[in-house]
Symmetry: C2
Subunit: 395 residues, 2 copies
């Protein structure tokens, strides 16, 4: 049996989305205790069930993003399936979907019809560009949104744009999806009104431009990528040690003084080239060259120990293996290990949300395709045996 605890145990969410943005939103809600009923299509289910590598037939991708959910397979193109979805809508608080804009209507589930059946339901529609505007009906993908949003233009060296190596537009879509649904739940609990959310992955990413947009609005100068350096702080960014790169972030003169001690260059405190940040910015290339000469004398690990001792803001650049085995991450108990019916022991990264006076402990395995169809039809919808068999036979 699935265990659920946390602030949302009284909430039921129908998840009609697949891939990443929608499922990430519902994973967050599940971590907070909500019951998530994931509707999947017969035969194939969520497309991320089919991305290698697999363990006993289960995809790493699907397993990484679908803990705590119940998988219900129904055919939304058949009458029995449609009827079951209508019955589920009647007993749910939230619907989340990321179909092409017209698909819900074609299937017979327009927002208007849903609202007629269940006035106070919350509907969250996620799409690349939202429901309105010149691109309102277009599909889009993470890299398309990253490219349009300005993020790529600001990442890497000037005139050589780079995308973030994680699908950040989809992930931020999950975060904003959770925020908008949670706020709508508060509205519903206060006034019984069901809000309809028109979420745009592009709008989300644009909202993260913050001070870059502030600077543009104020000066009409277009912010440029600055690589790993900082436009007005030095030393800052990526530096090469003996065995690879690490980062430094010498924000203040206090940190600069500690840094000169840590690298045994206290004479720089009186060096007119480097004395103050304004001098260091003017002589940045020379400064960075000299720093790299020194850093290459020791390993990242050695420098990290030294910089920590002196209180210099610095860090190794960890890879995935490095961070998943990092003492801080281990001690925060972020990585969970559970038993999965098909794949045996599996590990995943659990919720980063921590309450010190209420432990979240929702670490149930991701579902097999259709694992909970019978359970949900029988125990939530109270369907009789014949009806259940008919639906189960549809896939």
């Amino acid at each position: 049996m699935y265990t659920r605890n946390g602030p949302l145990t009284h909430i039921r969410v129908l998840d009609l989305s697949q891939t990443l943005a929608g499922p990430f939103a519902t994973t967050i809600l599940s971590d907070l205790g909500a019951e998530i009923i994931k509707i999947e299509k017969p035969g194939t289910g969520d497309q991320t069930r089919h991305f290698s590598p697999y363990k006993n037939g289960e995809s790493h991708y699907f397993l990484s993003i679908n803990r705590n959910k119940k998988s219900v397979v129904i055919n939304l193109k058949e009458e029995e399936g449609k009827k079951a979805l209508w019955d589920l809508i009647k007993v749910s608080d939230v619907i989340i979907e990321k179909f092409r804009p017209e698909t819900m209507t074609k299937l017979g589930f327009s927002h208007e019809k849903i609202k007629k059946q269940k006035e106070n339901i919350i509907i969250c529609s996620i799409s690349a560009f939202g429901k309105t505007g010149p691109l309102g009906n277009k599909a889009g993908y993470d890299i398309i949104v990253q490219a349009l949003s300005g993020l790529m233009s600001l990442t890497g060296e000037p005139n050589d744009p780079v995308r973030a190596g994680i699908p950040i537009a989809d992930l931020v879509g999950g975060l904003y999806g959770a925020i908008s649904i949670l706020s709508a739940l508060i509205k519903k609990e206060k006034s019984n009104k069901g809000l309809i959310i028109d979420e745009s992955l592009l709008d989300n990413m644009v909202s993260l431009l913050g001070y870059f947009s502030g600077s543009y609005f104020m000066t009409e100068e277009n912010p440029q990528a600055v690589g790993d350096k900082h436009p007005f702080i030095a030393p800052y960014g990526k530096y090469k040690a003996k065995d690879g790169f690490m980062v430094l972030a010498i924000y203040t003169e206090k940190f600069w003084n500690l840094f000169t001690k840590a690298i045994n260059k206290i004479e720089w405190a009186d060096d007119s080239r480097f004395k103050l940040n304004e001098n260091r910015i003017l002589n940045e290339n020379e400064l960075n060259f000299e720093i790299e000469q020194i850093l290459q004398e020791r390993s990242i690990e050695e420098w990290t120990i030294i910089f920590n001792k002196y209180g210099v803001p610095s860090a190794p650049i960890l890879d995935v293996k490095g961070i998943l085995n990092y003492p801080q991450v281990k001690s925060r108990n972020l990585i969970k290990e559970i038993e999965h019916k098909q794949s045996g022991n599996i590990k995943f990264i659990g919720t980063p949300i921590k309450f010190t006076n209420e432990k979240l402990n929702n670490n149930n395995p991701p579902p097999l395709l259709g694992e909970h169809t019978e359970d949900v039809l029988k125990n939530i919808l109270k369907y009789d045996k014949n009806k259940i068999i008919k639906i189960l036979n549809e896939y």
Copy 2:
């Protein structure tokens, strides 16, 4: 007067944070209607008030991230100031802070003491690494968290890590902060319990590793950066047109067929080098070389028109100016223009959260330092004139 509408109009938040992560969380809550009382220190206030460029003395950075808030200046090191904060705590629902771990206690506002004064208050403490673990007491900055989290190692080309060009660790901190506070508000409304949130920027970013961690846990192979290309899809990523870079994302054979038509290379549909994605991946360098030869014949704008006509997933890589003037962003009404007391007309990017059946319209100017001290002391705390003058004189 400030106008507030949306799901959170009944919520009051005391914001003791500064810079980015905390203020971004409270900006999101303010967009949803919450009343935000920003506590600032005498003289200087939020440090982002002092980052150039400025307009009539107001910083682009501060203006971009502090709309809708009330600024109250009190001196937390003086008795009168402490007393005012205690009185504000008694009438608030949420406190958010990003002090060094020991600072709240030193100031006399330990979690325990706050809870004794107001049992059901929600406290959100944001820090780089959380309150526990070997780094639990350390300070950290956006680039430090980006470096540790694995994000940099996955961005850019292999063995040449790059940070995301926007302060994504701080911004994701704001998003997760809003999520955890909203869920705690739901808990409070159901059971009158006030949750205490121990938010770690590093934990947040690690939680975004999703399928990269899933793949590592399954195979023990360490995921590598893949630049702008895709490990198993081609053509994909950044390509050079006549006047700069654009992106392509040819996820399916259907898109490939449309793409060959769009670039007038239908013979590639039968070319054994490029026929199927598996062939294209094997011959990726040759494919990318040939595509760039063709793309360099036309401008990004010309190709965008052609690709849109054929339904090929593609996009220009827009810079900040480009996206802020992009027709889709304009039509979504994301950019707001308001009157600011000091700076005249200012623009900012408003909330990306859109409800189709309830308009959010919280576009009040960011506050001057201490603009609302008198108002809050008088109208919320009902202090008398002498007491108010005493506090106003403290800064």
